[in-house]
């Protein structure tokens, strides 16, 4: 069923349409021949991480979104809502993480209405991995999924091709190595909430200061049984500086020598009233 067909014989289907792929390939070849670049997707080039502590989960993320070498968004929100007790950080292509988390959030809501129970983290994990595997990695969403359900706190990391890991501490994104170095050094089992928050904050800060793709502020999300603290921003690590000098001249610096006032005579030529149609 091509756009060039002369007649449509079957009803259209929803979902992804691959009609323009060949045209795009031809366009791409033409454009590279001329030496220009095709516009690239906006990535989040990120540091995201999560840690399990005594009573729950702490998720952390930086707030920079990049488009190639340019910062596209200085303060974007990478911790997405999935359900009242489950949140998900997203790295990779910004649109993919956004849409994927929204779809899974809707599906979990429908599922929890149908079962009349609070959704479980393992359910969200299973839904995400099945969807990402179906699209064979073409949906570039690398996720850190964490939440507290009836079985306790759970933390998963989900890769774009659909593989998942269930671990006590995970990091993803371009700054993941810097953040993982901090975790490997200072992670202990059954930490207190303040220690866990400090650990995650330091891990994200390591990513922000050592990786070009991450920057700006640090967002935290603390999930415990019955309570979620969404701290945005938790720490403004990169505040823009304030100018110390003021180069404006004070009023009265220039002396006034003479002053002349010329009155302009304006006469009313025409006066019309247009009524507004407020029906």
């Amino acid at each position: 069923r091509k756009m060039a067909t002369l007649s449509v014989c079957q009803p259209q289907l929803g979902g992804f349409s691959f009609e323009n792929c060949k045209r795009n390939a031809v366009l791409e070849a033409e454009v590279t021949k001329l030496g220009c670049n095709v516009p690239s997707a906006r990535k989040t080039g990120t540091t995201i991480c999560g840690v399990v502590f005594k009573d729950g989960i702490v998720l952390g993320a930086d707030t920079r979104a990049t488009e190639g070498m340019i910062v596209a968004d200085k303060n974007c929100s990478k911790i997405h809502y999935i359900s009242p007790n489950i949140y998900c950080c997203g790295a990779g292509t910004a649109a993919d993480t956004e849409m994927t988390t929204q779809i899974i959030s809707s599906n979990l809501e429908l599922h929890s209405l149908s079962t009349s129970r609070l959704p479980r983290v393992a359910t969200a994990n299973r839904m995400l991995k099945q969807m990402l595997f179906r699209y064979q990695g073409h949906i570039g969403a690398a996720l850190v999924l964490g939440g507290v359900d009836c079985n306790g706190p759970h933390l998963y990391s989900i890769y774009p091709h659909g593989s998942t890991d269930k671990l006590p501490y995970v990091t993803m994104g371009s700054g993941s190595l810097a953040a993982m170095a901090v975790f490997e050094d200072r992670y202990k089992q059954d930490m207190e909430e303040e220690d866990a928050k400090r650990l995650v904050r330091d891990a994200i800060a390591a990513g922000i200061f050592n990786d070009l793709g991450s920057g700006s502020n640090i967002d935290l999300c603390v999930i415990t049984k019955g309570r979620v603290d969404y701290l945005r921003p938790h720490d403004m690590a990169n505040k823009k500086g304030v100018r110390t000098g003021n180069y404006k001249y004070k009023q009265g610096t220039t002396g006034v020598l003479t002053k002349s006032v010329i009155k302009l005579d304006l006469e009313v030529v025409e006066e019309t009233v247009q009524t507004m149609d407020t029906s």
Binding site: T5, P11, L13, F18, K22, L110
Partner: protein, 142 residues
């Protein structure tokens, strides 16, 4: 040199038979209805996911039915397929929008949202099928 572009993916793809176009009378390609044909357009899939997405629902159903048969015996998939067949007949003529409510409820699609519901909504499509042609196609008179 952008080696990750679509062009390089197309070079490695293998021609497959799932992409056939409409065949008119006498088994010859139907130029009036599907335009001129070209081997490059017909044989190669334009995206790695095109075939797998076209057959996704069919493959899922096949897998689920064979699992059901192995677990519960032959009667289970047979009964379900009979119900699906009955529910599939509850729809309007092909050029009108039908809700497929019974079929969706049976399949469980009323409790899930996926890209089929968000992207390319058929009720918003720019191309409208011509009623006579679509009816002829459906009744097999073409």
């Amino acid at each position: 040199m952008n080696t990750r572009g679509l062009r390089s993916q197309l070079k490695d793809s293998v021609p497959v038979t799932g992409m056939g176009q409409q065949v008119g009378a006498y088994g010859v390609q139907d130029t009036l209805r599907s335009g001129f044909s070209s081997v490059k357009n017909e044989l190669l899939p334009s995206h790695a996911l095109e075939l797998s997405e076209k057959n996704f629902q069919l493959n899922q159903d096949k897998m689920n039915f064979s699992n059901l048969r192995n677990i519960q015996g032959l009667h289970a998939p047979l009964k379900l397929q009979m119900e699906y067949r009955a529910a599939r007949q509850i729809q309007r003529l092909p050029f009108l929008q039908s809700s497929h409510l019974a079929l969706d409820t049976l399949k469980g699609n009323d409790e899930s949202i996926s890209f089929e519901d968000i992207l390319n909504d058929p009720s918003q499509s720019e191309m409208v099928g011509e009623p006579h042609v679509m009816m002829e196609y459906k009744l097999g008179l073409m």
